[in-house]
């Protein structure tokens, strides 16, 4: 075989590979959209109690949602707004979830950032919007006091009356701001 022809063949191959990878990216972003759409559909029709979310405007990568505090907990009767931002390689990396309403909680900081293992190192592609929201809902009632973002809240957790006051104060304040 002549070397020239080999060379040309190899460049062809390179080109081919490039186009393939290009098409893969497009396909991927499509598949992310499809995944998000089907997650939305799942959420819409499963309607877990106290949880709802919807894409913000027509951009499927940004969602807004609301979580109602679980019954029988301190957060009972309060509804918290959250935003979810999905990365372009979702579901291989976790979405960025933040509280919009100020949430006085050991695992939530002043800016609404959340310390939840499944949103960080324990993220897996099997989680979805519904499971995230359900986990967050249960996190409200069962905080992880061992690794607090808000140490004050973690300390006060043992005193429900004081704690509740703080929760209500912050909740009202941020609702007024809104």
């Amino acid at each position: 075989m002549e070397p020239t022809s080999t060379h040309s063949a190899s460049t062809n191959n390179d080109n081919l590979r490039k186009t393939q990878s290009n098409s893969k990216v497009i396909k991927d972003s499509n598949s992310v959209l499809n995944r998000l759409k089907s997650e939305l559909k799942q959420l819409m029709f499963s309607q877990p109690p106290g949880i709802s979310a919807f894409p913000d405007t027509d951009n499927l990568f940004n969602w807004v949602g609301s979580i109602a505090g679980p019954e029988g907990t301190i957060y009972d009767g309060l509804t918290y707004k959250v935003t979810m931002k999905f990365p372009s390689d979702y579901p291989f990396s976790a979405p960025c979830v933040q509280f919009q309403t100020h949430c006085y909680h050991p695992n939530v900081d002043e800016n609404g950032n959340i310390c939840l293992d499944i949103l960080k190192d324990k993220w897996s592609a099997i989680y979805n919007v519904t499971s995230i929201l359900v986990s967050l809902q249960s996190l409200l009632g069962e905080p992880n006091i061992d690794s607090p973002l808000n140490t004050e809240a973690a300390e006060l957790w043992a005193k429900p009356e004081v704690y509740k006051k703080q929760v209500m104060k912050w909740f009202r304040e941020s609702n007024n701001k809104m």
């Binding site: 939305l40 959420l43 029709f45 979310a53 919807f54 913000d56 027509d58 499927l60 609301s66």
Partner: protein, 869 residues
């Protein structure tokens, strides 16, 4: 006069130099006075011989240079004399006219009075002026005046005459061209007379006009030639020439044709023959008219009243189109009117022109050609206008009105393109006013559209007009929910034998979806016409395929295909003999139209039915092991036939669950078991409310047969055991809602079999009751075959219910939003439930759904924003 004096002095000077001249001068002066005296127009008499002394003196004068002076002087005298003679008369004439108008404002036949008066005085007037003219002209001839002075005489006389006729002085200046008006009336009167003469006494073949008729009844092409291509004198030579020999053969057919048209002529407005006039009188009058025209020619009045003449002829043409052509679509009115033009109008014009002795035959013909060209064009315009204004009626009458369309085609070809737009505009207006209104049935609209397609196709093969007309239909039919249903149901309807749509459906040219493909290798490709609109798709509007055009009224074929499925489903479900031949034929036609893939669902549906036949016969046959056992034990025949359908491929069927009588329930179980053997691991789900039951009711005094829906059979079944039932008890037994049941009970009470006693107590009527005929309710079969398929509207509502979750969540999380935004987000976010999601392209539907939700108090609508409650 000064110049004359100067001339005199010059002459005298000349004469002074010459003694002979002086004598001549005296002689000439003498002669002048004698001649001038004789020339006084008031005393002049043409018939009298010229006195000898005058003659001598005239001879002397003619030889002197004074001859020219004499003519000049004479012209002045004539003009002055004219005014003396006629000014007063004209004044009187006008005053009488004004008075006459005042007196007869309210008189019912004032037109007739005017006409009579005008004709009489007009003729008198022309004649007296003419005799005056002759009287004045005569001496000039005797004077052997030169050509120039003759000409000058004519000009001066005519001008004086015309100026005094169209007097601009007060108070007549306020009356717009009184003289013109009178001339028109005068012409009209004689035109009518001539028309009558022609009508009741058609000229025989030796007359010039009949040649035109022979010509006019040639095939269309030639007839068009007469109307439009008549441009050269050669043509008119043929038309007006007196060589009739070659046409004699056609005489018989010609008279037959004339008879044929008599009924049309009866519409004519004029009926002067009825007033006791005789044909001879008419003939005489026309001859008089011809003479009068001659006089008018000498007075130059014809030329000066050309405008009145043209106006009159245009009016007459308009009148004719209005009175005779309008509203008649099934006769070749264009040809008929052309015949009238050439047999009546132009010959009459010929009478006027040919009476001019000054003109040669050729120039008369030239004149006629010019006039006829102009009038033909005018006629075309008027005719076209009239047809365009009534085009809607023509379309409604189509195909009976095809002749009218043909006429219009001929006319349009002659006229500007501008008329195409006028046509479109007028048709638009008519449609908006008369068809696209709530009062019109959808089927009527569709049928009219079909006629419109056919008519406009004839008028314009490129389809541009059609495209322009299609818009309003499209927009309007979009608001009609039943449009697709109507269209499809007429496709499905086999009972109507002359169903155009079915015929058209069979005439497939190419599948609808292929229309967008531009075929680059098409040798017959033509660019789109210049005036085509943006929506113009040449292939669809050029091809004569009505079905494709109808389908293109809808934005997508999906709606139609869904409707086909629905209607096919109801057709198939009513079948008891499993015979799907007809449906298969339809399916093949639909496949050709819409493509195989789109019709696959329908195909499965039809196949289900033929499969059911096999399944049913297997279950009933002895091959069925279960059946074998039964037939051994008892000779009982299975009374149940089943239709097995694949749920996924059928439209949602309405099912009301209820309990069938035990016996039937057992049959169902047996059937199910049989099916299990035939197709293991499949389960039958009975749609109990569908189907048909044949029942025979044996009552005491009568036996009745019915074919009813299962629910009715069930009801009557229970009355078999017990003659009286309480509604609630029966409802419990059948397991349906008592209110629904009550409605169903009415089915039997309408037929005189059950009777409501009171308090929901129902009784079987073993013996028929006398029913007061006035109270007899009209029993419709409608109830018997309730619409079993969910209508498209219901399906749509169902679909929106699914979206409701999305909308609710959206509004909850994102706050109030406008309709457009909701729609946008829904489109991009929601996963369509089926391939043909209605949300995607239907803002209107979404709006009505949201408004429905507002009504149901689930949403609130404030300031353009929808919010969750």
């Amino acid at each position: 006069m000064e110049s004359l004096e100067q001339q005199w002095s010059k002459t005298i000077l000349n004469l002074n130099q010459n003694k002979e001249g002086l004598e001549g001068l005296i002689e000439a002066t003498k002669a002048w006075s004698v001649v001038a005296n004789w020339l006084n127009p008031n005393d002049y008499d043409i018939n009298q011989e010229i006195p000898s002394d005058v003659k001598e003196n005239l001879q002397i004068l003619i030889q002197t240079p004074l001859a020219n002076r004499l003519v000049e002087w004479y012209l002045d005298v004539v003009c002055r004399n004219f005014r003396e003679c006629f000014d007063e008369k004209l004044q009187q004439w006008r005053e009488t006219w004004v008075q006459l108008q005042k007196d007869n404002v309210k008189s019912p036949d004032k037109d007739q009075i005017f006409e009579n008066w005008i004709c009489k005085t007009y003729i008198d007037f022309i004649q007296s002026i003419y005799s005056h003219f002759n009287k004045c002209q005569h001496p000039l001839i005797l004077m052997i005046a030169s050509d120039e002075s003759m000409k000058e005489f004519l000009i001066r006389y005519h001008t004086t005459l015309y100026l005094s006729l169209i007097d601009k002085s007060e108070p007549y200046a306020t009356i717009p061209s009184l003289f013109k008006e009178m001339t028109k009336v005068f012409y009209r009167s004689y035109f009518r007379k001539y028309e009558n003469l022609i009508k009741y006494n058609p000229p025989n073949s030796s007359d010039s006009s009949s040649l035109l008729l022979c010509k006019a009844k040639q095939p269309d092409e030639k007839f068009e030639n007469i109307l439009f291509a008549w441009r050269s004198r050669d043509d008119i030579n043929i038309l007006f020439s007196k060589q009739e020999d070659s046409f004699e053969n056609e005489d018989n057919s010609f008279s037959a044709m004339e008879l044929d048209d008599v009924d049309l002529e009866e519409f004519d407005v004029d009926s002067s023959l009825g007033d006791g006039m005789k044909l001879e009188d008419l003939n005489d009058q026309i001859e008089d008219f011809s003479k009068l025209c001659k006089q008018m020619h000498s007075l130059d009045l014809i030329k000066r009243t050309n405008d009145a003449l043209e106006e009159l002829l245009c009016d007459e043409i308009e009148l004719r189109v209005q009175n005779i052509c309008k509203g008649t679509f099934d006769k070749p009115m264009l040809r008929h009117s052309t015949k009238w033009l050439y047999s009546t109008l132009y010959p009459w014009l010929q009478i006027i022109f040919s009476s001019d002795s000054q003109l040669s035959r050729e120039s008369i013909e030239d004149k006629l050609v010019t006039w006829s060209k102009r009038l033909n064009y005018h006629f075309c315009m008027i005719f076209c206008d009239s047809r365009i204004s009534e085009l809607f009626d023509v379309i409604v009458d189509f195909p009976d009105s095809k002749i009218a369309i043909d006429d219009l085609i001929v006319c349009m070809r002659r006229l500007d393109k501008d008329y195409r737009y006028r046509l479109v505009e007028s048709l638009h207006k008519a449609f908006r006013k008369r068809l696209l209104i709530p009062g019109a049935g959808t089927m009527d609209i569709i049928n009219t559209y079909i006629s419109t397609i056919k008519c406009l196709r004839l008028l314009d093969s490129s389809g541009v007009l059609l495209e322009k007309i299609t818009g309003p239909f499209k927009n309007y039919l979009r608001t009609r929910e039943d449009a697709a249903r109507c269209l499809v149901s007429s496709w499905m309807d086999d009972k109507n034998n002359n169903n155009e749509l079915i015929e058209e459906l069979g005439r497939t040219e190419e599948p609808i979806d292929n229309q967008q493909n531009v075929r680059f290798n098409d040798d017959n490709w033509l660019p789109d016409p210049m005036d085509a609109g943006p929506d113009y798709k040449s292939s669809i509007f050029r091809s004569a395929d009505i079905t494709n055009l109808l389908v293109s009224l809808f934005d997508t074929t999906d709606l139609i295909i869904k409707e086909i499925q629905n209607q096919m489903a109801s057709y198939l479900l009513t079948k008891t003999d499993y015979d799907t031949e007809k449906e298969l034929t339809k399916l093949e036609l639909f496949k050709l139209r819409f493509g195989e893939s789109k019709m696959s669902t329908t195909e499965v549906m039809i196949k289900d039915i033929s499969d059911s036949k096999r399944i049913d016969s297997f279950i009933r046959s002895n091959d069925n092991p279960l059946r074998r056992n039964i037939s051994e034990s008892s000779s009982e025949e299975m009374i149940l036939h089943g239709t097995v359908i694949s749920r996924l491929f059928w439209p949602t069927l309405k099912d009301e669950d209820f309990d069938v009588p035990e016996q039937i329930g057992d049959e169902m179980i047996k059937y199910d078991e049989g099916f299990q053997i035939f197709k293991p691991r499949r389960k039958l789900q009975w749609l109990k409310s569908l189907g048909k039951v044949q029942i025979e009711l044996e009552l005491q005094d009568r036996t009745l047969e019915f074919e009813v829906a299962p629910i009715y059979a069930t009801i009557i079944h229970y009355f078999q055991q017990q003659g009286k039932w309480n509604l609630t008890d029966l409802a419990k037994k059948i397991k349906i809602d008592p209110i629904t049941l009550k409605g169903k009970m009415n089915f039997w009470s309408d037929r005189g079999i059950l009777k409501e006693l009171s308090n929901d107590e129902w009784m079987l009527l073993e013996t028929a009751e006398e029913v007061d005929p006035s109270k007899r309710v009209f029993v419709s079969n409608e109830e018997n075959c309730d619409n079993i398929i969910q209508s498209l509207a219901e399906q749509k509502a169902e679909e929106f219910k699914m979206y409701w979750v999305y909308i609710e969540n959206m509004l909850k999380n994102l706050g109030g939003m406008t309709l457009e935004k909701i729609h946008n987000i829904l489109c991009s976010v929601a996963e369509p439930s089926s391939s043909n999601s209605s949300v995607d392209n239907n803002l209107e539907d979404l709006k009505s759904f949201l408004n429905q939700m507002v009504v149901e108090d689930k949403l609130e609508f404030q300031g353009g924003l929808y919010k969750v409650k």
